[in-house]
Symmetry: C2
Subunit: 166 residues, 2 copies
DNA sequence: ACATTTTATAGAATAATATTCTAAATAGTT
DNA sequence: AACTATTTAGAATATTATTCTATAAAATGT
């Protein structure tokens, strides 16, 4: 397993969050465009402390990002594939090179360094099987250090959420 | 593979989106809290058409949801596991029952029906190994129809994005 | 136990933005 | 070329975010 895979300078400190912070997070999680006013009414606080708490959580990195989720099919991306990759060489430079490539491939939505037989798990989203074939043959396998690649196709989405706070 | 796994009443029609719609989506994807004004300045349109285009894409389901991403570690969730599951029985009712269970387990962030040896792939996020053990033994395996379960541990996050529009 | 410091809060004031409305312009069709 | 649809800009209004000041609560040290 390449050594430099784990992100550096990522403080793993747990933030101090009280019940009100968690309540705010829970609401923001489900709807990033909820107004401060609405939150304040729901958790029985005025707008100022809610606003300040949100800002604080943004600064501390508890809140990473506000994103908009787009329906894959509506923009003609109809195939999702889980793709396993092992590298031939596991040196630090080889790992860094692979990571660079992965970040340049927009078909790759997620990439994890994993335990077991393979080194990485990729979540790939593309138009159709032809597009995936192109990705596999002309992009992924083009990487010089590539070992084995195994594809598992997603036939149905049962659950997809981002709710970590409950 | 259970038959009822694929979501019903999901229209798979591709929406008609022009370049300006795509430009708006691209900006919203990266920041759900970007203002209409900001978007209008960046894509050289006034606020009204931008506002209308966003509303239209919301109504048509192109825009699924605005979500806030929370840092797992900051709320003390330090373990991510990819969990493979096969069911003993593959009848429709058995499949529906499994899906119901999955949706009730908040540790399960994602669940896909997949090709290959296993029936489902789960992404599980929890506090630590003890919490995962509890999930595995007391929650997942408690399901009567459970066949094999295999766990792959995530050691590092290389890439995690939601950018489908480019 | 009391005073002091710090932190959190409410309410008002201001700034910025979203949303709606009307009219003009553009593109597409017969 | 005339008509219809759709899209757009700009102004007006409504809503919301943000900042400010004063008060209240909590934590800390003596």
């Amino acid at each position: 397993m390449p050594k430099a895979i784990q992100k550096e300078n990522t403080p793993v400190a747990t933030a101090v969050l009280d019940k009100k912070d968690m309540a705010i997070l829970k609401l923001l999680q489900e709807n990033a465009r909820i107004t401060v006013k609405e939150i304040s009414e729901k958790i029985h606080l005025s707008t100022t402390p809610v606003h300040e708490r949100i800002k604080r959580m943004e600064e501390r990195g508890v809140i990473k990002q506000y994103v908009t989720l787009v329906d894959q099919n509506k923009i003609d991306l109809n195939l999702m594939v889980i793709c396993y990759v092992s590298l031939k060489e596991h040196s630090k430079t080889a790992g860094v090179k692979f990571i660079k490539t992965i970040n340049e491939l927009h078909e790759v939505i997620e990439c994890y360094s994993i335990s077991g037989e393979f080194d990485f798990m990729l979540k790939v989203v593309c138009k159709d099987m032809n597009a995936y074939y192109d990705f596999h043959v002309n992009k992924l396998s083009q990487q010089e250090n590539m070992g084995n690649v195994q594809s598992v196709f997603v036939m149905g989405i049962i659950k997809e959420t981002h709710q970590l706070v409950h």
